[in-house]
């Protein structure tokens, strides 16, 4: 497979450009996605190639923007709708939850709604309570939606391309702290990653660290430190929340007998709870220690740096959780 090193942001852009070249029904719309290339600048150049017709700046009107995307998807287009910050998805929830997610089912299978909604998540930029949330669990809760949450440049590209080709509404979350992250990325046009395939980012025997998005890197850092203490940690990234590759998660815990689950969404009522119950049920007879869940602290994300830092799981938190399992 031919590969090229690129950043996470470049990988997203390349995925989008390739899909737009391949399929003339794909277009992108969102606030400042045109010449400005988004506020994160990750799509710079896309407008040069595809012009106003296919890379479209919109009014600041998230409900309308997503609503138009749903209508377009229902009638033969494959729109990509950009919602700058994941927090702003709240303004479009009705369109996503009551319209996009349900049209196929309610129509008895007549409709398809192939819309891709891309948005961002993640704290760490001192952007305070309305620009830092990780609300992917909201959408994973809704039957009819698929949710992808890539952690590396290669996954970002492969999952994005799959999202555009999928006939269902897909929400794909990019952690805005990862745009500069570099990695090797396949360059074939037909490189895609099937949804529902977890990826083992690092193999290990003593404990499974199940992590999503930027928390994968937190887990990998922790695994490095644990290795020095003689503890071998396996890091597994589900990559998509819906569909969720329950089998791979369970198999890993059957092997290691212990699990720490790390996700940047709120800990309560969130992703880590769903995964923990999956693993408990699937690996019950093998589990040697209570499963630990790490998530964002259940508070609005505070502005002040020392407070914000305290709300996000760190490698130290993961290491401590594993040490408390008294493996050695």
């Amino acid at each position: 497979m031919s590969m090229r090193e690129m950043t996470y942001g470049e990988a997203v852009k390349e995925a989008m450009a390739e899909e737009m070249r391949r399929d003339p029904t794909v277009f992108l719309m969102g606030e400042d996605v045109g010449k400005a290339g988004t506020v994160f600048k990750v799509l710079l150049g896309l407008h040069d190639e595809f012009g106003d017709d296919r890379v479209i700046d919109t009014p600041i009107a998230e409900a309308g923007l997503v609503g138009l995307g749903v209508g377009a998807a229902l009638t033969g287009s494959r729109p990509i709708v950009d919602i700058m910050f994941g927090d702003f998805i709240a303004l479009a929830m009705d369109q996503i939850v009551n319209q996009a997610a349900k049209l196929r089912y309610m129509s008895g299978g007549q409709a398809i709604v192939p819309i891709t909604i891309r948005s961002t998540m993640g704290a760490g930029r001192s952007s305070a309570a309305q620009h830092s949330q990780s609300l992917h669990a909201w959408l994973a809760h809704i039957p009819g939606l698929k949710v992808a949450i890539p952690s590396t440049p290669a996954d970002a590209k492969g999952l994005f391309k799959t999202a555009v080709r999928d006939d269902n509404p897909v929400v794909i979350y990019e952690d805005k702290m990862m745009y500069a992250l570099k990695g090797m990325v396949p360059t074939e046009e037909d490189y895609t990653i099937p949804f529902g395939q977890a990826h083992i980012k690092r193999e290990g025997d003593d404990v499974t660290l199940i992590a999503t998005s930027s928390m994968v890197h937190v887990a990998l850092d922790a695994a490095d430190a644990l290795a020095e203490q003689g503890i071998s940690a396996e890091v597994v990234d589900p990559r998509t929340l819906v569909p969720l590759d329950r089998e791979t998660l369970i198999e890993s815990v059957v092997k290691t007998t212990r699990a720490v689950i790390i996700d940047e969404g709120y800990k309560s009522f969130g992703i880590t709870g769903e995964i923990a119950s999956t693993v408990y049920n699937g690996a019950f007879d093998y589990i040697d220690a209570p499963i630990v869940r790490l998530g964002a602290m259940d508070v609005p994300v505070p502005f002040s740096k020392p407070l914000e830092d305290a709300t996000i799981p760190t490698p130290e938190d993961v290491i401590k959780a594993v040490q408390d399992m008294k493996i050695r």
Binding site: A61, Q130, L307, A310
Partner: protein, 320 residues
């Protein structure tokens, strides 16, 4: 209407305070003392100041992501503001809100907002509450040209009209939403026109002219206090700097355009007016400037010396 010299001097001073505060923010931010996002109000001072000079302390405002000017004009404290944007515990919000969420409920500042259009419901609800409680308070909603395309704007105008709510919608049309020119994404001849189908009167004023803004607001306030309902005021204005510190503000805006707006600087305009009408001397106005400078220096020193909040505070204030 002829304004008292007291009000003119007060407005001049308020504009200077905003300008100095924002220039200081630029330095604090680029010097690494402030994190997050900083959207500067430089160039738009006459809007916040003209509006707030026509309000009482017990009236309400809702503000935007570009909110420092509104906060200063409505009576926020420079020291507590500077501390807030630097994430210190002595800030208006104990460091929890930061630049985009500055609030000082004690003087009716119901909060800056990180959500574009986030103030529409709150301001209109504050007006509803004033009406229900039988006070004659009014609520002002500051919002941008970009925010005028959010659906909730139309919802709240309908509420305000059917219930004759004491609310004033003040649009700061600075001709861009981030990097997008307003006319590319905004239908109709003007934003002021948008309230007319609801029967809400509107007016467009020169947002560089603090006196014009004051007069338009005073009229709207009078109508609101009398129980005659809402008004929409569109202020034609411009931000000199980029969308936020870090955006040079060029590329999508021509040099000529920026310079043409700077040539009718709101502070200079009011200064000229004060001097021409012999309301104060140049020396007196310069003295105002030195005082503001001093106030700013003190605020900065105090903010820098203030501690960050204790980590224990992180889960306080989630619930009442």
């Amino acid at each position: 209407m002829s304004l008292s010299s007291e009000i003119l001097i007060k407005m001049y001073r308020a504009m200077l305070r905003i300008r100095r505060f924002e220039e200081q923010i630029w330095e604090v931010y680029t010097g690494g003392l402030m994190h997050g996002l900083a959207h500067l109000y430089i160039g738009e001072e006459a809007v916040a100041v003209g509006v707030c000079a026509a309000l009482r302390d017990d009236d309400f405002i809702t503000s935007t992501h570009r909110g420092h000017g509104h906060c200063v004009a409505k009576g926020g404290n420079l020291e507590a503001m500077m501390a807030e944007v630097m994430g210190r515990v002595t800030g208006h919000c104990r460091g929890k809100g930061g630049s985009m969420h500055i609030a000082d409920m004690s003087v009716g500042i119901l909060g800056a907002n990180g959500i574009v259009g986030g103030g529409f419901g709150i301001a209109t609800g504050a007006a509803l509450s004033a009406q229900k409680r039988g006070t004659d308070q009014v609520a002002v909603c500051f919002f941008g040209d970009g925010a005028s395309n959010q659906g909730i704007f139309f919802e709240v105008m309908n509420f305000a009209a059917i219930w004759k709510l004491p609310v004033i919608y003040v649009c700061e049309n600075n001709h861009y939403g981030e990097y997008t020119p307003t006319e590319n994404v905004t239908a109709g001849k003007s934003i002021a026109d948008r309230s007319l189908p609801f029967g809400i009167p509107s007016t467009t004023v020169d947002g560089s002219d603090a006196i014009a803004v004051y007069e338009a607001t005073a009229e709207a306030v009078e109508r609101a206090r009398k129980g005659d309902g809402a008004t929409l005021i569109e202020c034609d204005t411009y931000r000199y700097r980029g969308h936020h510190v870090g955006d040079p503000g060029e590329g999508y805006r021509s040099k000529e355009e920026i310079e043409s707006w700077m040539a009718k600087d709101p502070i200079q305009l009011l200064r000229t007016k004060i001097l021409d009408d012999n309301i104060a001397s140049g020396a007196e106005l310069d003295a105002e400037e030195r005082e503001v400078e001093k106030e700013m220096e003190n605020a900065l020193e105090a903010a820098k010396a203030a501690p960050y909040p204790d980590v224990e505070e992180v889960n306080q204030h989630v619930y009442a």
